[in-house]
Each structure stands twice: as structure tokens, then as C-alpha cells.
């Protein structure tokens, strides 16, 4: 076994962002501190983004979520699109994460892209991409979260329509979006394989906004909606992946097949996991910086031993975050190469969030009795951060996935 010299001599490129992407991240960070952060407290207290959120987004030096974004695509960097997106997310969230909920378009349209027919993609995916708007995703129900095979919402065929009944929770943008992609079971005797996705457009009768926004521990400005489907009728061709042309009638039991199932959709959406971690990086890094800035001028008020400990801890926190950042970059750089990153994306999701909570909590504690006051944003970020280890799969769910990569399908099955 020998390997060519030139192979051995090739070195890794540095694990640092290119200077252009660094500059871009810096610009966005400065903007989010200046324009996003001042509204953080208001967003938390009113449980809504600031009323002028569109104007705020328009003030962004990069056209990420400006109204003119479709005319001005994001710059390209040699680091690639996926790493750029991580940098973008962290930089925006560094101001505050109210912005994340209004900044994107949700994930409903991405589900259409993954599961839909060409016709459906043209009808529901392209417009969101081309002119903006929001598309919601309704999977979770009061009775389940992690175990998505437990969908109890039903869709019953009735002639040229589907009749949907059930309750969905935690639908981001469910009250404001153009349409919701709803997962429902068309034949519970089939078990999980009866679960299909349906597009329900805004204002569709029978889709009731039971609660426009849950009352939550954190991310209070994010509109997480509870939707009630009460005899909600949609045309037959609203089932993703199926044209409605198989001649099935309400009386026959033959079920249409879809292009890509729930698993495929969830798998593709899983690519978003490192971005969840990047959000946490934003507020955790902001917490460290806020704490350092606040305590440094007061350093004389601490005993030397305590101040040394605090400085060391803040440095250890920086290191811990950079370790997470590197893992996120690594996971998404696989996508850049068109390689699968299922396990790496799970690692990213499992690795970051529990540490973000610890960073922010410790920052509150280092600040002391005032650390939990609304005078600072630390207490808000501590509340916000908790969701990161819950949605899009808790660390427990990620460990099941990682364990299976390591030990096969039975790992962690219990």
C-alpha cells in the first residue's frame, strides 16, 4: 500500500470562513444588533414580531428577507451556499431570534417540492420562491411529537374531495400563511403508511385557527398555531404526490401512491437541523458577549479568584461554541458536495442545543442577581433557547438516529 506524494502533501484548507463570507457575517451581525435586537423585548412582551417588521427587514444590507429579495439573490461565496446559510442564520439570530420566524417562508413549500407532482410544485412551490409568502407545515398533534407514525388526523375520500378531521399543534405561521401542508391518515388500517400530506389553502372552510399563537416559555413572538380541522374539504388533487386521476371513488378503498412519503419529506427537512443549531449559536454567542461586556468593567468588584474563574469560563464557552460551529459547518459542507448528511445533521442538532442552554444559564448566573432581569436579554434567550432541543427532534430523537448509524436499526428502540 502506497499513496502518491502529492496526496500526502495535500493539506486541509483552514477551517476558517473565507474573508468575503466573514465580512458578510460581520455586516449582518452588526445590522441585527442595531436593528433587530432593539425590538427583542417588545416581541417577547407582545408575543408578536414588531409591527414594522417588514420595514426592519428591508433595512438589512443584504437582501435576505427584504421585499426586493427576489430581484437580488444572495451573494455566492467560495464556502458554498450551505455554509453561507449557517453564517446568515447565526448572524441574524445574534440580534435576537424574533427575526427568524418572519425571515423565512416556513417549510410547507419545501414539503411540496419534495412530495408533490410537477403540477403541484408549479402551483404551490414556485410562487413562494418567486414572490415570497409563507407556507406552513402541520404534522405534530396534541397526542404525539417525536413519533410521527401516530398521526390521528384523518382524510376521508368523498367523491372529488378529501375531508380532513383532526387537530394540529405547533404549526409555525399556521394563522398567517398562504397554505398549510397537513399530514393526515387516509386509511388507519394501513397504519403509518396511510399517512399522506395535503395542501389546505388559507380560508379553506373547516380549517379553524383554534389558537393563533400558543402561550409559550420562549420564542413567544413566533406564531405557533393550533389548527382544528373540522370536516375540512379540499379538492382531490390537493394530496401531494398524486394527481387525483386514478379513478378512485369514495367507495373504493384503493389508495393512491405518492411520489415520496412522509419519511422522505422528514428526511429532506432534516437538512435544516444544523440551522437550528446556528440559531442557538447566535443567542449563545450574544449571551457570552453581553456578559463579558457587562462584567469586564466591574472586574474589580470580584475577588481575583472569582474574576479569573469567570474569564476562564467565558473563554471555555467561546471554545465550546466554536466546536459546535465547526460541527455544523462540517455537516452542511457535505450537502455542498451532494453527499448525504443525515447522521451529521443529527449530530449537529444533538450537540449544540443542550450546551446553548448551559451557556446562557451560566451567563445569567455570572451576572448575578440582575442576571435574570428583563433589563438584559439573557433571561429571554434562556427561555427561547429551550425550544432548540425540542423542535425538529429532541437530542433524544437525534441520539436514536445516531445510534442507528452506529449500531443498526434496533439501536435505542427500547
Amino acid at each position: 500500500m502506497t499513496i502518491a506524494h502529492e496526496t500526502l502533501q495535500k493539506s486541509n484548507t483552514l477551517f476558517e470562513l473565507g474573508p468575503e463570507l466573514q465580512e458578510y457575517g460581520k455586516t449582518l451581525t452588526e445590522w441585527s444588533v442595531a436593528e433587530v435586537r432593539p425590538y427583542a423585548r417588545m416581541a417577547d412582551e407582545t408575543h408578536a414580531p414588531p409591527p414594522n417588521w417588514k420595514d426592519i427587514l428591508d433595512s438589512c444590507p443584504v437582501a435576505i428577507s427584504r421585499r426586493d429579495r427576489h430581484a437580488k439573490p444572495l451573494p455566492d461565496f467560495i464556502d458554498g451556499r450551505w455554509v453561507r446559510d449557517l453564517v446568515t442564520t447565526e448572524a441574524l439570530t445574534y440580534g435576537d431570534l424574533w427575526v427568524n420566524d418572519v425571515q423565512g417562508s416556513g417549510i410547507g413549500h419545501l414539503t411540496v417540492k419534495i412530495m408533490g407532482t410537477e403540477e403541484q410544485i408549479a402551483r404551490w412551490y414556485r410562487p413562494i420562491i418567486d414572490r415570497g409568502g409563507q407556507a406552513a407545515f402541520a404534522l405534530t398533534e396534541p397526542g404525539f411529537g417525536s413519533d410521527t407514525s401516530m398521526v390521528s388526523t384523518t382524510a376521508t375520500r368523498d367523491g372529488d374531495t378529501w375531508v380532513i378531521n383532526g387537530t394540529k399543534m405547533y404549526c409555525s405561521g399556521g394563522a398567517t400563511c398562504e397554505y398549510v401542508v397537513v399530514f393526515a391518515n387516509v386509511d388507519r388500517s394501513l397504519g403509518p403508511s396511510g399517512i399522506k400530506a395535503f395542501v389546505v389553502e388559507r380560508g379553506n372552510p373547516g380549517m379553524i385557527i383554534a389558537k393563533a399563537n400558543e402561550d409559550k416559555l420562549g420564542i413567544r413572538s413566533w406564531q405557533t398555531t393550533e389548527l382544528l380541522f373540522d370536516g375540512c374539504v379540499v379538492p382531490v388533487d390537493h394530496m401531494l404526490g398524486w394527481s387525483g386521476n386514478d379513478g378512485a371513488t369514495s367507495s373504493n378503498k384503493r389508495q393512491p401512491t405518492t411520489q415520496s412519503g412522509r419519511g422522505g419529506a422528514l428526511g429532506a427537512l432534516a437538512q435544516n437541523k444544523p440551522n437550528i443549531s446556528a440559531m442557538g449559536l447566535g443567542i449563545a454567542q450574544a449571551s457570552i458577549d453581553v456578559t463579558r461586556d457587562r462584567l469586564s468593567p466591574q472586574s474589580d468588584s470580584f475577588t481575583p479568584a472569582r474574576w479569573a474563574k469567570i474569564k476562564n469560563e467565558l473563554d471555555q464557552m467561546d471554545a465550546a461554541l466554536h466546536r459546535i460551529r465547526r460541527v455544523n459547518w462540517g455537516a452542511q459542507s457535505l450537502l455542498e458536495r451532494n453527499m448525504a448528511n443525515k447522521s451529521e445533521a443529527s449530530v449537529s442538532k444533538a450537540f449544540g442545543p443542550p450546551t446553548f442552554e448551559r451557556v446562557i444559564r451560566r451567563c445569567m448566573q455570572l451576572v448575578g442577581p440582575e442576571g435574570s432581569s428583563r433589563e438584559l436579554l439573557l433571561e429571554k434567550w434562556y427561555r427561547d433557547a429551550k425550544i432548540l432541543d425540542i423542535f425538529e427532534g429532541s437530542a433524544q430523537v437525534q441520539r436514536i438516529i445516531i445510534g442507528r448509524t452506529l449500531m443498526g436499526a434496533d439501536a435505542g428502540r427500547g
Binding site: F302, M364, G368, P369, E370, S373, R374
Partner: protein, 375 residues
Amino acid sequence: MFDLDVSDDRVAVAALGRGIGLDLLSPVARAAEKQRSIPSDVHRALHETGLTVLVDESHGGGGLPSIGTHMVAIEAMAYGDPGLTMAALWAGAGAILVGRCGSPDQAFALLPELASDPTKQSVVALYEGFGRSPSESATTIAKDSDGRWRVTGRKLSVPNADRADSLIVIGVDPSDGRLRAALFAGANRNSGLTVSEDDEKIALGATRTFTVTIDAVLDDAQLLGGASAESDKLDTAVGWLRLMVAAAQCGTAQRATDYAAKYATERVAFGKPIASFQGVSFLLADSSIRIGAARLEMLDAAAHLDANWPGSEAIVTRAVNYCGVVATTATRDAIQVLGGHGFITDHPVELWYRSSAALSVLDHDPLLSNFEPAL
């Protein structure tokens, strides 16, 4: 000797406290947070238990429990709600100091009223931040050249400093480095105090807190216990007040863990109650292990205080900090077990998550625990 009290008496005290916590406090916890005060009927009922405003019989109160017993009661009440428990305790905390360390005149002036009138408040200005224990206080109570006492300092998170009928400031006498307490009451209630209200906290909303800046000159009569007060009594009484937070953390942690444990036996995923997955059950078992250790540490500190053990301060500091670690971790893990349901106010776990965090910052010493990445 090592002798863990598992007596029926101890069990009875815990049951009494749990009854108060679950029946009286828990149902109004969210309302109290919103209205920024203890509902007055609840406050009255708490006052009647004799567990929140402690006054001895000779001054018309129900008598002082031992510190250990008080901690058992506090933990049990906090099992219902830590925010209300601490709100009531903080509003009457001065009674402990006056009862333990006050002169007969001071006790007579303050205690009968506190014992009989639930609207009367006596609060203590204790915390300063910067990881300081009381003996490291930068607030000084110093005899000046004309024989009067100059009090200067800055106290944080002082409960109800605007409305309390009396306020006691803890400081250090620079001449001997021992604790002293300055009593601001009656005509002197406000002299030399600058009070500014804090922003609302992440939790504990039923207590309004204030930053109090002190620059006052006092007579001997305003020193708690007078100029010849015994500082070791004050050490114990201050330790008592600090340790109340540790007891409340234990109760909070235990409640969150029990709540999550019950949820885990009922919630089904992947075909089984989630308690059957070790990823869930081990998380809660770990909380349970830690809470047991934290409780023993807290009770050990209480026993040291009850015995007037010299050097109890360090033991109290350690207990308060460990209970803070345990409670913030346990409430966090309880949310984790509930998942999305833990994150919404339909369940009380998020309130306990916030409460334990708010309690953990008050008396935090960075030298006694560490930031450690989760992985």
C-alpha cells in the same frame, strides 16, 4: 452522630407544607405572577400557618421552628410553588433577624405587629452579587469618629423595599470583619436609603425587587441588637435566610421531576409509555439521585446552623449553589421529557424552569460550580 431525621414528626411537617403548597399556592401561582403580588387571601392564610413570618410566642407569634424543620416546610411549600413560597418568606424575613438578633426593644417594636398583621412586612437587604458571601459584603457598617454608625453599600434584589414597614441591611463591620445589621424602621425607615425598582425577573413575579443604595448614619439603637450585638447569632440568622432558597430549589426540582415522571408513564410514543425508554427514565432517575443529594446537603447546612457551628457560611453557600445546579438541571430535564408540551404554559413545568433559574442567580458563587459543555 450521623442521624437522618425520618421521624413521623418530620413527615408531618412535610405533609403540612405540601398541603399548603399544593392546595393554596399552586392554584394561584400564575395569577400571582401576573398581578405581581401574593393574592391577599393567600397571604393571610400563609401568615396563619406561622411558617412564613416567624415570631416567637412571647411576641404573639406561633413560635420559631428549628432551621432544619423550617427547611423541610419550605421545601414542601415550594413543591406547590416556589415563587409564592419565597414571596411570603421574603416579606417576613426580617422577623427572623429581629427575633434572633434584635434587642428586646426592637423585638417589642416590630414583632407583635408582624405576628398579628399579615399586611406588615419586614424585609432584608442581603444580596450584592459578585459571588459574595455575606462576610465578603462590600456594604460596611462602620463606627465613625463621633460614635455613630455609617452604613454604605448597594444591595440587589431587595424584596418590596418600597413598601416594607422595616428593612434590615446586612453589612460588615470593618473594625473586626464581623457581620452587623442595620435596622431601618419607624421614623428612620427611609433615611439614607435610595430605592429603585428592578425590571421584572424571569420568574418570582409575586415579589417586586429593588436595588437599594445605602448611605446612612445611625445611632446604636438602629443597629440590630445594638452596638454589642453578637455577630455569631447574626451569622446563623443570615445563613437561615440564604438557605431558604436552597430548600425552595429542592421543592421545585422534586415537583418538576414528579410531574415529568407522571407524564412519562402516561404519554405514549413508539408504542409504549415513554417512561419505558431509558433515554427518558434515566434522565429522571438522574434528577432523582441529584435531588436526594441536594436535599441532604441543604439539611446538613441547616443542622450546622441549628448547632451554631462556626464556619457554617461556607456550608450554606455550597448548599445553596448545589441546590441551584440541581434544580435548574431537573426543571430543564422535566421540560425535555414533556417535549413541546413542556414549552407551553398549559403545563406548569415552564414556570418551574423559570423559577429555578431566577433563584439560582441570587446567591451564585462562580467558584462552586462550573460551566461545562453538555458534550
